[in-house]
């Protein structure tokens, strides 16, 4: 038995330090510790949670029926007759519509990104790990999709499939696959070239085991950071599609659609007309700021 350790560390409280050292501080714990001190990011995450909660419990949060219009009370300002944020062009309560609209806006913002993460992540890992032929096939395919600007691609797909929630999600998913394949491929091939993957290969492990044990946990951080930054783009794109009449159809509440409908009211009551736009701005901004905060906490360089 060889008993030579080279750990002569001078500490204040040996017992406490030993306890800490034995535990070991894993990556996610260090990320959390860094995040805990970052008040800006924490408050941004707080706002996002607030919006999520409001959307989830929309029937309880909303003060009025979002579909109930009123001929007399159209485009009224804040506080009119109990309508906190006023009413829209058909006299429906704007606050309630924004709360219900959050549901669709978040669904069209988050779901396509999640789907694209699963599909793009899988393709990216395959391309990055196996290189050679699979890489060529996947990456050239992605290049073709990349040739179109993302908004045009989304418009073209919904234009082809027709409007509606499912098709919006489908179109946006296809739009987000290429960037996610590319980032996953880049990160995977970076990780793959590190010595610990060579070491794992030289212990006789099969590719699937190596990907599970050594690739996924190392690529997750950077890919996650990038993914959260895509959510804000997705929200804006979905709103844009609805605005153009290619996304969610009336009378459903969705921020982009609401913005379109209120467009003509810009001369009557500009504050009310801008409200859905403000919500789109705040939400996508928050996702963007959260992404930046996570990037710092995870110490990721993209």
């Amino acid at each position: 038995m060889v008993s030579k350790t080279d750990n002569t560390v001078i500490v204040v409280d040996p017992a406490e330090a030993l306890r800490r050292a034995r535990q070991g501080r894993g990556y996610w714990r260090r990320v959390w510790e860094r995040l805990r001190g970052d008040w800006g990011t924490l408050s941004v995450i707080g706002i996002i949670l607030l919006i999520l909660l409001a959307a989830a419990f929309a029937p309880f949060v909303a003060t009025h029926d979002p579909m109930q219009g009123s001929i007399l009370g159209r485009l009224k300002g804040f506080g009119y007759n109990g309508h906190i944020l006023g009413t829209d062009e058909t006299g429906r309560d704007l606050f309630s519509r924004i709360v219900f609209g959050a549901r669709l806006s978040l669904i069209t913002g988050v779901l396509p990104v999640l789907f694209a993460l699963v599909i793009g992540g899988f393709l990216g890992v395959v391309a990055g790990y196996f290189r050679g032929f699979p890489n060529s096939v996947i990456m050239r395919g992605v290049d073709v999709l990349y040739a179109f600007p993302s908004i045009l691609l989304a418009i073209a797909i919904t234009g082809m499939l027709g409007s509606g929630l499912t098709n919006t999600i489908l179109a946006l998913t296809i739009t987000f696959i290429p960037p996610l394949v590319r980032i996953s491929e880049t990160v995977t091939s970076q990780v793959r070239s590190l010595d610990f993957v060579e070491a794992a290969r030289s212990s006789g492990a099969r590719p699937l085991t190596i990907i599970r044990f050594h690739i996924l946990n190392n690529m997750l951080g950077p890919v996650l950071v990038y993914t959260t930054s895509l959510i804000s783009i997705s929200i804006i794109l979905a709103a844009g599609l609805s605005f153009l009449g290619l996304g969610v159809t009336p009378p459903d509440a969705e921020w982009g659609l609401m913005l379109n409908n209120l467009r003509s009211a810009i001369w009557v009551n500009p504050v009310i007309a801008a409200l859905p736009g403000v919500m789109i701005f705040i939400t996508s901004m928050c996702f963007n700021l959260m992404s930046d905060g996570l990037r710092q906490a995870m110490d990721v360089r993209l």
Partner: protein, 328 residues
């Protein structure tokens, strides 16, 4: 401070502020460097040898590093100089060479242009004169077909040639003091010896003073007149190279020399120093080598020992050796 010293460092200390705490990188380094002298600073990573060198030339970022003590060069205190004055001294009177030659060169200009530009900036020479001197310098550092190499870009040269070109750049304004930060570490052994011999020859011919930082005992032996062994940000032993190598008077130097495998016999375990260097964020107020020292005693833990002379110019920062109670 003696009459002919061109550089005088007095109680130099460097602290880095980091998120985790304050790193005590250099903790009271003092020495005088004579005209034409080669001082080798020998130490392991984290010993503060490179930081010392950068503090002398004022290369440490002021927002992270706080520097204490005094550095006098040519009768002027470096830390009181403005950035412009510092820039005038850097490159002209003090030059530095690095482990990685590519940091000294801009990849988009030819080697000749960059050397000539330095000459024009510091000496105000004409471009044509500067180019001629650049060619002479490349010949001086023994680059074959120097004239052709003037038009080469840094990446077109091999590692050894880049190192020579960087030395030429450093010498372009006849510096009085050359600071060398591990300039041979990244080189192959057959090239390393060529660069060492070149530096030795240039130093003799030009009468420069040199501070040569290295972790390699052999390299330090080849180049140095005087040696300073550094540990945890302090000089623990200083003296003429011959004395330090042949008769180390600090347990760390002794351990370092006996753990270089040359002295070891095949088929026997090495005489290794146990443990690891101390945490520079929490240095004890004691001999920083004591936790690894086999000769340590109670007294070693009561305060940092002074660098005390044993002979006229051989000094050690060991209490027991200094008081004559220990023979190594």
């Amino acid at each position: 401070m003696s009459q002919d010293s061109i550089l005088s460092v007095d109680n130099l200390s460097v602290r880095f502020r980091t998120h985790e705490g304050i790193v005590h990188a250099v903790n009271g380094v003092s020495f005088d460097l004579a005209q034409g002298e080669v001082l080798g600073i020998l130490g392991e990573s984290g010993s503060g040898k490179s930081v010392t060198l950068r503090a002398i030339i004022g290369l440490l970022p002021r927002e992270y590093a706080s520097i204490g003590g005094r550095v006098r060069f040519g009768g002027r205190e470096i830390q009181h100089l403005s950035n412009e004055e510092l820039n005038a001294i850097r490159g002209a009177r003090i030059a530095m060479i690095f482990q990685e030659p590519m940091v000294a060169f801009d990849p988009v200009f030819t080697v000749g242009d960059q050397i000539a530009e330095t000459i024009v900036r510091h000496d105000g020479a004409s471009w044509r004169d500067a180019m001629r001197r650049a060619r002479d310098l490349l010949e001086l550092v023994q680059i074959p077909s120097a004239k052709r190499r003037l038009a080469a870009y840094p990446h077109e040269m091999s590692g050894g040639m880049q190192q020579r070109a960087m030395i030429a750049l450093a010498l372009s304004c006849n510096p009085q003091l050359l600071l060398a930060d591990e300039p041979t570490t990244a080189l192959d052994v057959t090239v390393q010896i060529q660069i060492i011999l070149l530096l030795r020859e240039l130093q003799r011919e030009l009468g420069m003073s040199v501070i040569f930082v290295t972790h390699d005992v052999g390299v330090a032996t080849e180049i140095s007149d005087r040696l300073a062994v550094m540990y945890a940000g302090r000089f623990v032993e200083t003296g003429p190279a011959v004395d330090v190598i042949e008769q180390p008077r600090h347990p760390y130097t002794d351990g370092l020399l006996s753990s270089t495998v040359l002295s070891a016999r095949q088929g026997h375990r090495l005489n290794a120093i146990p443990g690891a260097p101390p945490d520079l964020m929490a240095l004890p107020d004691a001999c920083s080598f004591a936790p690894r020292c086999r000769y340590a005693e109670e007294q070693c833990l009561s305060g940092v020992p002074a660098l005390s002379p044993i002979t006229r110019d051989h000094a050690t920062r060991c209490l027991r050796v200094g008081e004559g109670r220990l023979e190594l």
